[in-house]
Amino acid sequence: MRGQRLLLCTLCALIAGCSIEPWVKPYERANLADPIMSFSRDPVSASYSQHVKEAREGARGAEGGGGGGCGCN
């Protein structure tokens, strides 16, 4: 049920947002395009760091990497 509520909220945000003009223009995104602004600058490293944590913690999921995982423990 929580998942469905989250998706409904996403849906509402999308519908509301269809009429919104982008407030950051493409030519204003130089800072955001800098590699130091990437959430996962080096996927090979991010994947390993995620594996180290998941193997030693009870929590799992919603990590910053690409997802998919190996399913291994």
Partner: protein, 382 residues
């Protein structure tokens, strides 16, 4: 779950009808990494090689080969088993495909140990909209594992895994981007470690306690939500912050936060600093010392299911070379990352102390350990 999938389809249909713009494929690059973990009597090291290549204008393929070489004399192993070595090989491959201005992702992974096999298939879709200010990603993965037991050729138990994930990343200003993630994971099958034991009070035992096999529930379901942000500082540096909260139906509640800073040095160097703190409560069926044999239906003494906290401090240095290209290489980087992790367990005691007769069972000091985690990798873009 079918209602959930229908909602996913509706959302995707609406996203597709929103104002669209072109997505881009991931960069073409190759990474060769060496990793080394040393902590709590466990040493794990090995390589990881990740290669990504575009095919035409709309497809990008990747492959990853990863190895864990494990030497374990952990506190559990010292308590009731013998130190061992093992090797885990993992292979992943997949592709991303641009279609109708969305990115479709498909992947497959296999992990092999002498006593464990895991196969995972992955499907995802990602869409930029609102003039590229927002990116919505959804993915689904299904896994099938087989748990085996060394020394018992008749033992083979399955696990079925499913994961559903939604991620929304949002550009808020010229210098601030945020991400919101949710992931639901369900497991069904043989979820405990076939070797791990719990301990229980036993007056007939010399050391005051005896051991029996763990027994876990046959299902587990968990939700995790994460909010992360990245901010560009005016002098070209970046700050990042993350908060994640987690709950499962085993009674584990966890949260963690992370703060990080990336600072360019001179022309070609990058310095990364991070601090992370993690907290969790234990599973309802966890106990460090059960009062008697078969004290309850489910029994666990896995310290990862106990109440504990951990703190990580990390530093990384990267050097970029061949910035103007060299042969077929557009650029490259050499990277070293080091993390110090500290684990403090609230209800997992160092049972080796009572095994040596230096404390009564249940009165041993609480267990803690530090781990050193090193990564060294070279990346090239082409």
């Amino acid at each position: 779950m079918h209602r959930l999938l229908r909602l996913v389809i509706v959302v995707l249909a609406l996203v597709s009808s929103a104002s669209l713009s072109a997505a881009v494929l991931p960069e073409e690059r190759a990474d060769a990494l060496y990793h080394a973990y040393d902590g709590g009597g466990v040493e794990i090291s090995g390589p990881s090689v990740l290669v990504r290549k575009s095919i035409g204008q709309s497809m990008s393929v990747y492959a990853n080969y990863y190895v864990d070489n494990v030497t374990s004399a952990s506190i559990d192993v010292e308590l009731y088993a013998s130190p061992y070595t093992e090797k885990r090989n993992e292979f992943r491959a997949g592709f991303d495909y641009l279609v109708d201005k969305a990115t479709l992702s498909v992947g497959y992974g296999n992990s092999e140990e002498t006593d464990y096999t895991a196969d995972t298939a992955f499907f995802g879709i990602s869409q930029d909209f609102f003039g590229d200010l927002s990116t919505l990603s959804m993915s689904f993965s299904v896994g099938s594992d087989e748990v085996r037991k060394t020394g018992d050729p008749t033992f083979a138990e399955p696990i079925d895994r499913h994961a559903y994930r939604v991620n929304l990343s949002q550009i808020l200003t010229k210098s601030l981007i945020m991400g919101l993630s949710w992931e639901l994971i369900t497991d069904k099958g043989f979820l405990n470690n076939p070797y791990r034991q719990v301990r229980y009070l036993d007056d007939n035992a010399d050391i005051g306690y005896s051991f029996q096999d763990e027994v876990y529930p046959g299902t587990r379901s968990s939700d995790a939500y994460a909010l992360r942000a990245k901010y560009f500082l005016p002098y070209r540096a970046s700050l990042h912050a993350e908060y994640r909260v987690f709950d499962d139906n085993w009674g584990i509640h966890a949260d963690n936060y992370e703060l990080g800073y990336t600072h360019p040095l001179y022309e070609s160097w990058l310095l990364d600093l991070k601090f992370r703190h993690y907290n969790q409560t234990g599973a309802t069926f966890y106990s460090d010392l059960f009062p008697r044999r078969n004290a309850q239906d489910y029994l666990a003494r896995d310290k990862e299911l106990s109440t504990f906290s951990s703190t990580t401090v990390g530093v990384g240095v990267s050097y970029e070379f061949a910035k103007n290209g060299w042969g077929f290489i557009d650029r490259g980087s050499v990277n070293v990352l080091y993390d110090l992790m500290q684990f403090d367990y609230k209800d997992f005691r160092n049972a080796l102390v009572s095994k040596e007769g230096l404390a009564e069972p249940g009165e041993e000091p609480r267990y803690s350990f530090d781990a050193n985690v090193l990564q060294f990798f070279i990346s090239i873009w082409y």
